[in-house]
Symmetry: C2
Subunit: 352 residues, 2 copies
């Protein structure tokens, strides 16, 4: 069931971006069995969690995302649990949200869609669209990396390059007629996909104290929040972990905007995310914080990640840069466990 | 235990490329429990299969490969089961072999290694080496794709570019002094890693009639053979599937060498693989065949794979091109199940 955040109207589980009143929608799930009975251990991939999703299991996308591994490293006395979300068919965590969204699109026979993206969501939808014969219009900023553009061309996406800010790209996509607009900024089903990161992590490593998340539109942040809330409702965790939203300096939406601009966070350079208030309230509920990091800090974090064997793109390093900053400020509890999703593959930006 | 193919001498499970007599070595495993008791279902990654490997579980590499998903597609009446081996930390199936090899290197405290590779094995060892503080010398052909070279530089591998054929690269690496040579062409532990593809596939999709494998040095082919042989010994499958080795025209090692050269199979352009006789005997035992495919067939296969949502490199498409050729020649049983590992990510060659 979908429920409006403003007028509380409800809708059945059909594909829908917003309420008739213009309000944002959330998926509300009722689970009538314990988690153990819902997990499908016959599957060693994302389908293990199908019963937690509002989808018709007969119209699933053919591309099945893996369960991503978790790598534990001890860093300055802390256990950091890197979750390799970049090991996905399109090279980013977005595939989780795309998987659920495309399942809904297939249920309804939708064959032509449009979306705006800094790159990763565009590639993800282009890939899943290609595999399902769905025509995909992608609106991307002109400065998107050449590797990502090349991929979009290879996948035969209809590319609309916009010479403007990320917000202008978003406006152009919304104005476009003739295709179903599937923006992951609004789309409530996208978060059903990204919530599975929390379920997987729980099965892999149990409870954690912190989760550190590069945050732009909040499509990963809010998914993780939702996943942990559900795990709490299932009685699997005592309380949800502290969620830490890390943003790029100059593109903060949750705190004061810095003058200095960190241009390495292309995936999260979203000054006005539609779900901003929802992110703030999840932050507050989890007793988390938001911080922002500089370009230099991001660059250094990227190198450190590489030396641990993680070939990720710069936006992924924003989270780790945030972790280092919190360490420096002594804001993390000693000997604590921190979950850190690594969001996007570094392979796609090799041409940079 | 290691056993020599020629003089039958045996060695304990230490890192070793060849027998003192010069013969090739195989790992011989004795399993004293049924498979169910050996699988570790606490893990949702490669560690699920640790008890099947001759490694000390206390010195495992920190980078843990995922269980790769299997995607089923119906193609001209056949069930094809694509296994996405390219969704690995370094972007190719090689990470399986590297994982086991590096576990052995760590057991023995080896800190500097050398190897020769067309690219993927080099990147894999460079990555795992970086994560474990092992210095890695890679010998690669000069014509290796720019994307792969860039990655090797990023990973701070010691790059030795050789202006010569793949066999000349191999010779140069063998001559190099001052580091432990870990060639996956000889290294018996490499096959322990790649055999896990068979175990995973068995758990995911049960028995199959055919397995189609791009084959150069045989590091995947022989691993799969070994995995299925072990599954047969465990009583899990009645007989091993027919193994089909697909090679690039002009680089055949198993059959007559074509004059025409397929330059798209850089990963398998190995005219004289040291384990050639072993490949031939596995082919015969499984009642399989070897075939070779042209550049045009490979290119077409690559496009078809992409349209199914698989962003792979050209070498991976050699297997699918072989499948299409066998279909055309009506050499596959109707309604049969074929396992097709997709070996390398297309992201790394984006700069081409």
């Amino acid at each position: 069931m979908l429920k409006c955040q403003i007028c509380k109207a409800t809708y059945p589980d059909v594909f829908r971006l917003k309420c008739d009143c213009g309000g944002l929608l959330d998926v509300v799930n009722e689970f009538e069995k314990p988690l153990e009975d819902l997990l499908n251990s016959d599957y060693l991939d994302i389908r293990r969690y199908l019963n937690l999703l509002p989808v018709n299991q007969k119209t699933l996308p053919s591309l099945t995302p893996p369960i991503t591994p978790v790598i534990e490293r001890k860093i300055e006395g802390m256990k950091v649990l890197f979750k390799l979300e970049y090991l996905m068919p399109s090279g980013s965590f977005k595939d989780r949200g795309t998987y659920v969204t495309v399942a809904k699109l297939k249920e309804e026979g939708i064959k032509e869609i449009s979306l705006d993206s800094s790159g990763n969501a565009a590639i993800s939808f282009a890939l899943f669209g290609k595999a399902e014969n769905i025509r995909v219009h992608v609106f991307i900023p002109k400065h998107t990396s050449e590797g990502k553009k090349k991929l979009l061309r290879l996948l035969k996406a209809e590319i609309h390059e916009i010479d403007g800010s990320r917000m202008e790209v978003h406006e152009k996509a919304q104005e476009f007629k003739g295709a179903t607009y599937v923006s992951h900024w609004y789309n409530p089903y996208f978060l059903e996909g990204t919530k599975l990161t929390a379920y997987e992590a729980f099965e892999q490593i149990g409870e954690v104290e912190y989760v550190i998340i590069p945050t732009g539109s909040g499509s990963l942040f809010l998914g993780l929040y939702k996943g942990f809330k559900e795990l709490e409702r299932f009685g699997k965790i005592k309380k949800i972990p502290k969620l830490i939203a890390v943003q790029a300096k100059g593109f903060e939406s949750l705190g004061k905007r810095s003058k200095e601009k960190n241009m390495l966070g292309e995936g999260i350079a979203i000054p006005e995310p539609p779900r901003k208030e929802q992110i703030k309230s999840a932050l507050k509920e989890s007793k988390g914080v938001h911080i922002s990091v500089s370009e230099e800090e991001t660059k250094k974090a990227l190198e450190e990640l590489r030396s641990m064997g993680f070939i990720v793109e710069a936006t992924s390093a924003v989270g780790y840069a945030g972790f280092k900053l919190l360490l420096k400020k002594e804001l993390l509890k000693e000997n604590s466990k921190t979950l850190m999703p690594l969001t996007g593959s570094g392979f796609k930006s090799l041409t940079l």
